[in-house]
Amino acid sequence: MPSIDQIKSELTARFKGALKGFDTPLPTRLFVDVDKNSVRSMCNVVVGMGARYLVSIGYDNIARDNTLGLVHTFSFDNDNVFCCVRTKVTADNPVCDSITPDIPNAGWSEREYMDLLGMKFEGHPKPKRLILADDWPAGIYPLRKEVPWNLMPPAAEDVAYQLDEAPEGCTTVPIGPFHPTLHEPAHFAVYVDGETIKGCDYRGFMTHRGIEKLCTTQVTYNEVPFIAERICGICGSVHATSYSQAVELAAGITISRKAEYIRTFMLELERIHSHLLWLGVAGHLIGFDTVFMHSWRVREPVMWLAEKITGNRKTYGMIIIGGVRRDILQHKDDILNVMNTVEKELIAIKNAIVGDTVIHRRTKGVGYVSTEDTVKWSLVGPVARARGVNIDTRRDHPYAAYDAVKFDVPVVDTCDVWGTLLVRILETFESIKIIRQVLNDMPVDEPLLYEFDEPIKPLIHSITAVEAPRGEVVHYLITGEENRADRWRVRAPTYPNLQGVPLMLLNNQLADAPIIIGSIDPCFSCTDRMALVDLTTGKHEVLTGEQLEKLSRSKKG
C-alpha cells in the first residue's frame, strides 16, 4: 500500500543519480523525471510496488530542446495514484531501453513510437511496424511536428506485412481484414494444428485516422470533445469526458457538481446500451440469434431515451470542457420508466440464458487466461474482471460523481468468455442502480457550464482515466501554445486487450476464435471469405463462398 510519499522515497533511495525530479500537481498524480538509462529499471521498481502498466506516451519536443519525450504511465489501483515515468532522448540518437521484455503490454506503445516518432527501443522482442501502412515511406515520422497533418505520400503496390513465422507443422488461417469477427478491418493470422490454435499474429491499424495529430494541429481545445467522441461509435462520451477532464485538470478548472452528475449519467447510459449490444453480438457469434434479437430489442428504448435527452441516439455531444450542454432533469420520469423496463426485461433474458447449457458449452473454459497472466499483460475492463482481477477505474480513481454513488464491481474468477458475459450482465444492473442514485442525488440549481477565459498555460502534463464499457480509457494531455494541445494521447481499452488475444486464443479450437476475439468487445461484422495459404509452397488461393461450402461438406482436403 504505497502512498505517494512512499513511492517518492523508495524511488529516491534507489535512483539517486538518475532521478531528476518529481512533480505532483495533484495528490493523485506523480510525475517522475528520470535519465533514459534508468527507465527500464525504474519501471520494474514501480511495477514491483504493485503498479499496473497503462500506456506509454511519446511526444516531439525537437523545437524546444531537440529531444523526443517518452512517458511510461502506471496506475496504483489501491491507492488512487497515477505514476508517470518521464524521460527524454535526443532526436539525433533516439535510442532507449525497451520495457517490453518485463512489461509485455508496452509492446504496442513502443512499436507505435518507432513508427510515428522514429524512436528506437533496444531489446524489443518484436520491432515490427504497427501503426503505419505497409507502403508508408521509411524515415517520415508523422507525429513529428515538421510533418504536416495531411501529408499523403504516394501509394505503393504489392507491399505486404511480413507475418510471424508459423510454428512447425502448423497451417495459417487468415482471419480478416473484413472477416468474421470484425466490423473494422483487422487481420489475425491464426496458426492452427488441426483445429487447435497454436499461435496468432495480428496486423491492424488499417483505419488509423490520425485523430491525435489532427486535434493537435488543426482545431482548438473546445472542438476536440466532439472529435474525441467519434473515436468510438459505441463509447463516445467516455472519450469526450476523459479529454475534458484532462484539459480541466491542466487548466485547474473545477466544474459544477451537477455537471459531474450528468456526466456520470451519460457514461452509465452508454454502458447499458454497450453491454446490451455486446450481449447481442456475442449471442450472434455463437449462433444464438434469439439473444441477439432480444437484447437489441431491449437496447432500443435506451437509444430512444438518449435521442430525447441529447438530440441524437449516438454521439451525444453532451460533454464539453467545463461541463455539459444540456440538463437531464426534465426527462426524469422518462429515464426512470426506461430503466425499469430495461431492468425487468434484462432479468428475464438473464434468467433465460444463464442456465442454458448450449451457451455454457460454447463459452465455459474458452479463452482461458490465468489471473497471473491477466495481471502480467495488464488487461483491463470486463476481460480482466472476468479473470479475477478486481480493478475498476470508477471505484479506484473516482472521477465525475462516482465518489458519491454506491455500486458493486462484479468480479468472477472463471477466467473465460463465460465470465466476461456474466460480468457484463451484472454490470448493466449496477449501471441502472447508479442512474437511479444520480437522479435522486443530483443538485437542481447549479450551472451546467463553467466559463473560463484565461489562456491555458503551455506544457502542463495531465492524465485521466475513465471506465468505458470495454475497460479503461486513458487520456494523456500536454498543453501547448495557440489554444491547442501540444500532444494528446488516447489509449482505448481494446489497445491492451487486443494484445492479450493471442494468449486467449492459445490452445483453443479455431471455431471458438470469433467468440474469443469478440469477448474483448471489438467491433464485428459478418463478411465471409477465406484464403488458404500453403506454407510449404507459398501458394495461396482465395475461395469463393460456394467453393468453401463444397469443401466443408466434402470433409476432404
Partner: protein
C-alpha cells in the same frame, strides 16, 4: 436445466410481439430538441463568424468578397450535427431542424451559402468592425485554421509547407518485401 432455459426463452420471445417499426413507409417523428440539419436564417445572421470558429468539423467558411459583402458557406457534406453552432449563435440565427432524411446524389443539396450585406459607416464608408478588429482576423487569434474548401475539392496531396528533401526520399525508399519473398 436446458429445457427450462428454452421454455423461459420462449416467454422472452413471444411476450413483446412485433416491435419493428414501419419506418420508411410510416413517418418516424423525432423528439423535441433533435439535432437535425442546421438552418441559417439570413435575416438574423450578423456574420460574426462564431459558428465557424467553434465548428469541430470546420465545415463553415467565412470570407469577405469585398468591403460590403461577406459570404458564409456551410458545407453539409461533412457536418457532424453536433449543434454547437446553434448553441453559440448570439443572434439565434441557426436552428437545428428536425430534418434527418438528407440522402442526396448531389452534395450541393445539403450546402447553404449566404451573402451578407455588411453595413458601412456613413462617415468613412468602411465596414464596421473591419480592419484589424475584423471578426475573421480575430478567429485566427484563437487558433482557428481555415480548411480551404477550394483545395478540398480535389483529394489533398499536401497543402502545407514540407521539407522537400524528405519528400523526395519517399520516391526511393526501400519498400517491404512482397508476399512470399
Amino acid at each position: 436445466m436446458w429445457l427450462t432455459s428454452k421454455i423461459k426463452q420462449l416467454f422472452v420471445v413471444t411476450k413483446p410481439g412485433t416491435v419493428t417499426l414501419a419506418y420508411p413507409f410510416a413517418p418516424r417523428p423525432v423528439p423535441e430538441n433533435f439535432r437535425g440539419q442546421p438552418y441559417w436564417d439570413h435575416h438574423k445572421c450578423i456574420g460574426c463568424g462564431g459558428c465557424a470558429n467553434h465548428c469541430p468539423a470546420r465545415t463553415i467558411l467565412v470570407r469577405d468578397l469585398c468591403n460590403e459583402i461577406r459570404v458564409m458557406v456551410y458545407d453539409g457534406s461533412r457536418c457532424t450535427y453536433c449543434g454547437r453552432c446553434a448553441d453559440l449563435c448570439p443572434e439565434k440565427a441557426i436552428t437545428m431542424t428536425p430534418q434527418y432524411e438528407l440522402a442526396t446524389n448531389d452534395k450541393r443539396d445539403v450546402n447553404e451559402t449566404m451573402e451578407l450585406f455588411m453595413l458601412t459607416c456613413q462617415r468613412c464608408g468602411r465596414c464596421f468592425d473591419h480592419e484589424i478588429k475584423n471578426a475573421i482576423d480575430r478567429l485566427t487569434y484563437l487558433g482557428y485554421r481555415y480548411d480551404n474548401l477550394e483545395v478540398r475539392a480535389v483529394i489533398p496531396v499536401s497543402t502545407q509547407v514540407f521539407d522537400k528533401d524528405m519528400y523526395e526520399k519517399t520516391m526511393t525508399y526501400k519498400r517491404p518485401g512482397k508476399i512470399g519473398e
